[in-house]
């Protein structure tokens, strides 16, 4: 039991856990103490003095150790001066006055001082309307200044801190929130204060500038308009914006977000997304999102989106009506029957996937998930159980991250795993190369490519690591396919599952297996019954293929070839991808931002998203398109609201049993309190009023005992003497279908580059930053050369989704650029 402390704040009796700060105790009791530098997610700094209050403690008689009484009441010893509520911890019998005359005078003076060097350019400031300085000045400020306007401090107003964030030095009130966020929360201390006193200013000296994938969060917690995003700055006024609750669809974390939208003349009278803001879900993303989630939303409004159905006539894809296109697609699928194949990507919602699965079942066709990460069936069995929260992990717990670069693949998981390690959890990182997580790990285990499975199998035999796994209070295992293909990743998953099962870490909260999928809803696809195909090219042969939300031809020339050799190809997409260009029928899909639906995150949490903007051109939602095809085949598929599809899904798929849209929309009070009225406290992050989501029941929690999966014997490909082995790795900012339309990210996406060991480079006469020609899978590509001493000699890291054909470890030749 946590010890409780009772104190009085403005005459109200408040009971809070020992160790609580006065400012938080007040907040919990519904009393606002104004703050600028304090933020409930970070240790206090006591820098701004905005939170001044009168503070008294019961006077203690030194001789007896008893409180001194006065008229039967404890006598209060008042602090001689005002105290900061953000640095003082509560104690029993403490008396706090936040609105006394003295306290108010102190608060007023601090604001008067702050405003002496503030430009007060609210009318043109992006923060205006949601600015803590503006709001607190109205509530606590003096109304009038005794300082001379002409002696205001002036500083640079348009300072780019990298391509994503701009700094207005004049507006900065030196609260240090951004600096502390980067150091304490993000673990990337690339902002700091330069100079002193009035000349204090924020600087970044990293290369590239403000080198952090969490930089956007500083604009949420900056209490003034000093930090703004390049994306939103001068874009709109906060009060013109509508908000729609949604989820980030860029990775399997499932961060809760809010899309702010506006109808504007600038966009031809369309309603468009103006910015992405985090939405609080303390069990998923707390109040943060990564920069990919914040800035890669522009695909929705891209003019390159497919507008209407296309049908191939005389060898050319030509516009057609929905009737024609659906009829043709249905006829082709009908003719194929069980020789049809449905290939779906993890960008689709649970509802879309369910309809696709029903269609496949109706035809007797195979339903294939397009992914390079395997093992989702294991996650279904021993994935995370309800009640899991990464924030609960700490001392005595262990987190294993295998064949995965969490930083690039799932940033918010990286952040939360790092924080668990900071709290004392034992972090074990197992990979063929160094990643950003190593710095925070208790144990780093490196294997030679090909040895990933045996290495994982051997972990329990290692003294300390074995003990850390076996004796862990809670054990979480993240895995992916770093340097591997689907087969490699499947065996890694099996080896990881064995570790969990053998040591009994499953079927309860905060224990289990997490697949770090390439998309937001791969786990949902596994749950619904989609399975990847180890040899996709062979599986496509002679089939009538219905592909939704996947671009195999763009990823891999061999798959493009296989599709050319397949029977009919029907493609349902947002864009005219390489795969769509091979199709007979192209069905334009609505983006997830334009409709409702649910995703199942890698943690197996099912969450809802809501429509943010109207559907683009003639597009239709994926589940509707599938249902309309199904209906033409005499199948009873739901084309009504997604909630209706979801009802059918929950009736059929056991893991989803008992869920409903209403249940997914339930909320509970969360700490810290954030939202519009409290933005001085938590920042501009949105309060969650639309649903925290629900974990799927893991088969193991329901009492089913998991079977120990068989682990593939033998090993994956190894580098050979005198030849380089290209291994696929994931890059956060890549050329993915939903990323490349965001021009702002161009510099971070960069040119395709391979990474090799300096010795390998030397042998080949290559230098860092030079261009080279690589031969891979029978194709030649120009790339940049990067060096990394931590990767094994003989291996070249080749990024996925950067236009290089790398879907599996494969031999690579490197030559000088032409």
């Amino acid at each position: 039991m946590t010890e409780l402390v009772t104190l009085s704040i403005d005459g109200k009796q408040v009971t809070v856990p020992k160790g609580t700060l006065v400012v938080d105790a007040a907040k919990q009791a519904g009393i606002d103490i104004p703050v600028f530098c304090y933020h409930p997610k970070m240790e206090p700094a006591g820098m701004c003095r905005m939170c001044l209050v009168e503070l008294g403690r019961p006077m203690i008689d030194r001789a007896t150790g008893q409180p001194v009484l006065e008229n039967g009441q404890p006598k209060i010893q008042w602090a001689p001066k005002l105290e900061t509520a953000c640095t003082n911890v509560v104690s029993d019998g403490m008396v706090v006055l936040t609105r006394s005359e003295k306290a108010r005078a102190g608060q007023q003076e601090i604001l008067e001082f702050l405003l002496t060097s503030h430009p007060l350019d609210c009318p043109v400031c992006d923060k205006g309307g949601e600015c803590p300085l503006q709001n607190l000045t109205l509530d606590y400020g003096p109304g009038k200044s005794r300082f001379l306007y002409n002696e205001k401090h002036h500083a640079e107003k348009h300072v780019p801190l990298g391509e994503l964030i701009w700094l207005d030095r004049e507006r900065c009130i030196q609260c240090g929130r951004c600096v502390r966020f980067q150091r304490l929360v993000a673990g990337e201390p690339v902002l700091a204060f330069d100079e002193r006193g009035r000349d204090t200013e924020i600087i970044t000296n990293s290369e590239p500038a403000f080198d952090s994938i969490f930089s956007g969060n500083t604009t949420d917690i900056c209490p003034v308009g000093a930090l703004t995003t390049a994306d939103f700055r001068f874009g709109a006024r906060p009060w013109e914006l509508k908000s729609a609750a949604s989820l980030c669809a860029q990775c399997p974390v499932g961060c809760n977000i809010t899309f702010n939208t506006r109808r504007e003349a600038k966009s031809g009278g369309r309603v468009v997304i103006k910015r992405v803001m985090p939405r609080q879900n303390e069990e998923v993303n707390e109040i943060w999102i990564c920069d990919k989630g914040r800035f890669a939303y522009h695909f929705t409004e891209s003019e390159a989106r497919l507008r209407q159905p296309l049908i191939r006539r005389n060898g050319q894809l030509q516009p057609a009506s929905w009737e024609e296109a659906l009829d043709l697609a249905a006829a082709k699928l009908k003719a194929a029957g069980k020789d049809a194949l449905i290939l779906a990507g993890g960008r689709l919602s649970n509802e879309d996937l369910f309809n696709l699965k029903k269609l496949a079942d109706g035809l007797g066709a195979q339903s294939v998930l397009y992914t390079h990460v395997g093992g989702g069936d294991l996650v279904t069995q021993i994935g995370l159980a309800s009640g899991t929260n990464l924030a609960d992990l700490g001392k005595g717990d262990t987190i294993l991250v295998a064949a995965c670069d969490l930083y690039e693949e799932a940033p918010i998981w990286w952040l939360r795993v790092k924080q668990a390690a900071d709290r004392g959890a034992t972090l074990i990182v197992v990979n063929a190369r160094a990643t950003r997580l190593d710095k925070h790990a208790g144990y780093v285990v490196r294997y030679a490519p090909g040895d990933e499975t045996v290495t994982l199998q051997g972990l329990l035999k290692q003294d300390k690591i074995g003990a850390a796994i076996r004796e862990a209070g809670n054990l979480l295992v993240f895995y992916a396919a770093d340097g591997l293909d689907l087969n490699g990743s499947t065996s890694v998953a099996a080896a990881c599952a064995n570790l969990l099962i053998e040591t009994g870490h499953f079927g309860r909260p905060n224990n289990g297996l997490i697949g770090v999928w390439p998309h937001a809803n791969d786990q949902g696809a596994w749950e619904i019954g989609f399975r990847p195909e180890a040899d996709l090219a062979a599986a496509l042969k002679g089939k009538t293929v219905y592909i939704a939300a996947a671009d195999p031809a763009g990823d891999d020339p061999r798959l493009a070839k296989a599709l050319q050799d397949a029977g009919t190809v029907i493609v349902q997409e947002l864009f005219q991808t390489a795969t769509a260009s091979l199709a007979e029928v192209v069905l334009p899909a609505a983006a997830y931002t334009e409709r409702e639906g649910t995703f199942t995150s890698g943690e197996r949490r099912v969450q809802r998203y809501y429509p943010a903007v109207p559907r683009w051109a003639e597009t239709k939602a994926d589940y509707v398109i599938t249902a309309e095809i199904g209906q033409r085949l005499g199948l009873d598929l739901e084309a009504g609201a997604p909630a209706l599809v979801f009802n059918r899904l929950t009736a059929e798929i056991t893991a989803f049993a008992g869920l409903s849209y209403r249940k997914l929309a339930e909320v509970r009070p969360q700490w810290p309190i954030v939202g519009r009225a409290d933005l001085y406290y938590g920042g501009t992050t949105y309060e969650n009023k639309q649903g925290l989501g629900v974990h799927l029941a893991a088969a193991a929690s329901a009492g089913e005992s998991p079977h120990l999966p068989e682990v593939r014997k033998g090993s994956g490909p190894r580098p050979q003497e005198d030849a380089l082995l290209a291994v696929p790795v994931t890059k956060l900012y890549d050329l993915g279908v939903t990323v490349r339309s965001s021009v702002l990210l161009e510099a971070r996406i960069g040119l395709p580059a391979i990474t090799i060991h300096p010795l390998t480079a030397e042998k080949m006469g290559l230098k860092a930053g030079e261009k080279a020609m690589i031969g891979l899978g029978g194709h030649e590509n120009e790339v940049l050369v990067k060096l990394d001493e931590t990767i094994p000699a003989g291996v070249a890291l080749v990024p996925r989704s950067m236009g290089l054909p790398v879907s599996a470890p494969a031999p690579l030749s490197v030559g000088k650029a032409k």
Binding site: E188, P189, V190, L191, A192, F193, D194, E195, R196, G197, I203, T204, N205, S206, E207
Partner: protein, 168 residues
């Protein structure tokens, strides 16, 4: 040439003074070492020190920015750092600074055309009772000059100018 190549022994000695898990504590002595080169710490040196101590270049720059004794920008051979904090201001430091600069033909913070002298206003030098006061920072180290007048200061500058000639 990198610092590591130029001063391997001295760097080793400095680093040895701190436990490896707190090696960032070696930042200040390493900055003095780097500054010895050109009178300021250039970008190369900042990055090199950051790498040595496993901190970010931003953190190194912040340290240089915080202390008036470190410099991130080139300046004159001799830096005259005049205290203009409140107690000194009460003893005329503001006027002293303005007059000195006028005599040298520069703005506060500026450098004389011959690259000899830079005059900078700084915060309290802990000699408030002896204002006007400044500290000089140059190749010969740091020195205090208390109860100064513009005349005495100009003599100092002249002497330096002369000696500069002699050296040449």
């Amino acid at each position: 040439m990198s610092l590591a190549e130029k001063y391997p022994e001295e760097i080793k000695r400095i680093l040895a003074k701190y436990p490896p898990e707190h090696k960032r504590s070696a930042l200040m002595p390493l900055l003095y070492l780097a500054q010895r080169e050109k009178g300021y710490v250039d970008n190369h040196a900042m990055n090199e020190i950051a790498e040595m101590l496993e901190i970010t270049p931003t953190e190194v720059a912040a340290m240089i920015g915080f202390y008036t004794l470190y410099h991130g920008e080139p300046a004159g051979k001799l830096r005259i750092q005049v205290c203009v904090d409140l107690p000194c201001a009460l003893r005329g430091a503001d006027k002293f600074l303005a007059d000195l600069c006028a005599n040298l033909g520069i703005e506060p913070g500026g450098t004389t055309a011959d690259g000899l002298v830079t005059v900078e206003p700084v915060m309290c030098l802990a000699a408030c009772d002896k204002a006007p006061v400044f500290q000089t920072q140059g190749p010969d180290g740091i020195a205090y000059h208390e109860n100064m007048t513009v005349e005495k200061t100009m003599q100092l500058v002249e002497a330096l100018r002369e000696s500069g000639k002699e050296v040449k």
